[in-house]
């Protein structure tokens, strides 16, 4: 790691006042410290958020579940309010990383974790995300883990988070505080597509601090699943993952929400597919039609061509699990 100065601001306002383009907030450190060791991140100053009070609470008011930015992934997944009101979020978190990492990783840091693209991590290679304008060696290179949806000629990276896929399906809102005050950013607008600015993962401002995420009320109970398909049964990033929740009325789908992970620069959600499912009886034809809508325009890069078919099969399977109230267990790996 390169030398940096270290401080521990004790209030959000102090953290924001001390933040500039050359500094980084430190939360769990599981992504930032790793990237600093690879010399991908080279902050002049690290501002540790650990002393800031008021960012570690999970609360519920008026039906909205609020999770503080410094709540660890482990605490969020085990919190009674999360388990009671948004178990899909707990499922997704528990499908990610390891117990050790989840004990360190935080809500805010998870939202802002960077891609796992091999070239992004390797300073010896070009990468538009790491150094804009240098090129994208993943295009035509090793791209098994890369995007099949929403990619650009500048970057085909994916966002690696599991937690964010559930937050996208649940239409969560990111609460951020900056020099101009507080802002609420819907998940759909929080992460960006790469376009010609792949260095920008999100729409968060340089001096903005995430303080919480809020999830609106929706009682889907056991009618949910987080289906994560990966190279190992545990402890691997998603090749394709699906967060799905439905509510049924009189044997028909009243509401469906679906988001995909591992396939794009952001959690992938297609509202048209959700609207199409509304009023339909749950069944393989409707699920396959939803998959077609979600995957419209999907394009492989060579090594990752298989992801299109994998997703085409994973979406109906996840919708089946949600409709039958048989959420995927992260311990018992058999897929219902």
């Amino acid at each position: 790691m390169r030398p940096f100065t270290f401080s521990r601001p004790e209030a959000p306002a102090l953290a924001i006042a001390g933040k500039d383009a050359a500094s980084r907030f430190l939360a769990g450190g599981t992504n930032l410290v790793d990237l600093m060791k690879y010399d991908v991140e080279r902050p002049a100053a690290v501002l540790d958020l650990g002393r800031i009070a008021g960012l570690r609470e999970v609360t519920q008011a008026g039906g909205t579940l609020r999770i503080g930015a410094l709540v660890t992934n482990a605490d969020a997944a085990a919190h009674p309010l999360v388990l009671a009101h948004h178990p899909l979020l707990a499922d997704a978190i528990l499908a990610g990383a390891t117990p050790q990492l989840r004990n360190m990783a935080t809500t805010g840091g998870n939202l802002l974790q960077r891609t796992r693209c091999h070239y992004f991590y390797d300073r010896q290679t070009a990468c538009n995300k790491r150094e804009p304008g240098t090129g994208c060696p993943a295009i035509g290179g090793v791209n098994r883990i890369h995007a099949i949806l929403g990619a650009s000629e500048s970057c085909i990276a994916t966002h690696p988070s599991d937690m964010c896929v559930a937050l996208a399906a649940l239409e969560a809102v990111v609460v951020a505080q900056g020099p101009e005050g507080e802002r609420r950013i819907p998940m759909a607008e929080f992460h960006r597509l790469p376009g010609n600015e792949p260095q920008r993962d999100t729409t968060l401002g340089e001096r903005e601090l995430i303080t919480a995420v809020e999830i609106p009320a929706w009682d889907y109970g056991a009618h949910r699943t987080y289906l994560k398909l990966r190279d190992r049964l545990s402890y691997a990033f998603a090749l394709v993952s699906v967060a799905a929740a439905v509510t049924l009325e009189g044997g028909r789908i009243a509401k469906a929400r679906i988001a995909l992970g591992g396939v794009a620069h952001k959690p992938w959600r297609v509202a048209e597919a959700e609207t199409m499912l509304q009023g339909q009886a749950p069944g393989e034809d409707a699920f396959a039609a939803a998959a077609s809508l979600i995957l419209r325009g999907a394009q492989g890069q060579g090594h990752n061509d298989f992801k299109i078919e994998l997703a085409r099969r994973a979406i109906p399977r996840a919708l089946h699990q949600a409709a039958h109230a048989t959420p995927q267990s992260h311990v018992e790996k058999r897929i219902a």
Binding site: M1, T5, A22, T30, R42, P43, A44, G50, Q100, M104
Partner: protein
């Protein structure tokens, strides 16, 4: 991306951390990880450095009651914390922790490099109560890799202590 490469530091910070019940005062550069502080500053070389990137679990220690990868923790961010390492698992009189005993009884290691991390992770796992079935042990020990492949015996050792 921040790219100011001008020299900074040394800027040593005073970092008091309680390690295995003993308060230790260290003067550390801000970029010192908890793992390097334990091994190089305190001479507690039980915690191992496998990958140094949060991937292998060899550096697992119990920080304020939670197992973490010490290689990704900046020590300066943990002043005032309590750390338990493999050196602190046995009783003060040297009696091994039940899980250490079980590792011996089940031959749960070969080279032993991953073992301190497996033990700290396993002790925390038992305290968390996530060791009810072999599947559950496998899933909740997934953050500790073993190049020697002692997994079946590690699962058996943890399972035995959990079932007591």
């Amino acid at each position: 991306m921040p790219d100011d490469l001008s020299p900074r530091g040394p800027d040593l910070l005073s970092v008091p951390i309680t390690v295995n019940g003993q308060e230790r005062h260290m003067r550390l550069a801000p970029w010192t990880t908890l793992l390097d502080a334990l091994r190089d500053t305190l001479g507690l070389s039980g915690s191992k450095k496998g990958c140094d990137h949060g991937q292998c679990g060899a550096c697992t220690v119990i920080l304020d009651g939670r197992r973490v990868n010490a290689c990704l923790v900046l020590a300066a961010s943990k002043e005032g914390s309590e750390v338990r390492t493999v050196e602190g698992l046995a009783a003060p009189d040297g009696t091994l922790h039940p899980l250490q005993q079980a590792f011996i009884a089940h031959d749960a290691f070969q080279c032993g490099y991953c073992t301190p991390g497996q033990l700290c992770s396993g002790v925390a796992l038992l305290e968390e109560g996530h060791a009810k079935t072999p599947d559950e042990i496998r899933e909740w020990m997934s953050g500790n890799l073993c190049r020697c492949g002692a997994y079946p015996n590690i699962v058996a050792a943890i399972g035995e202590v959990a079932s007591r």
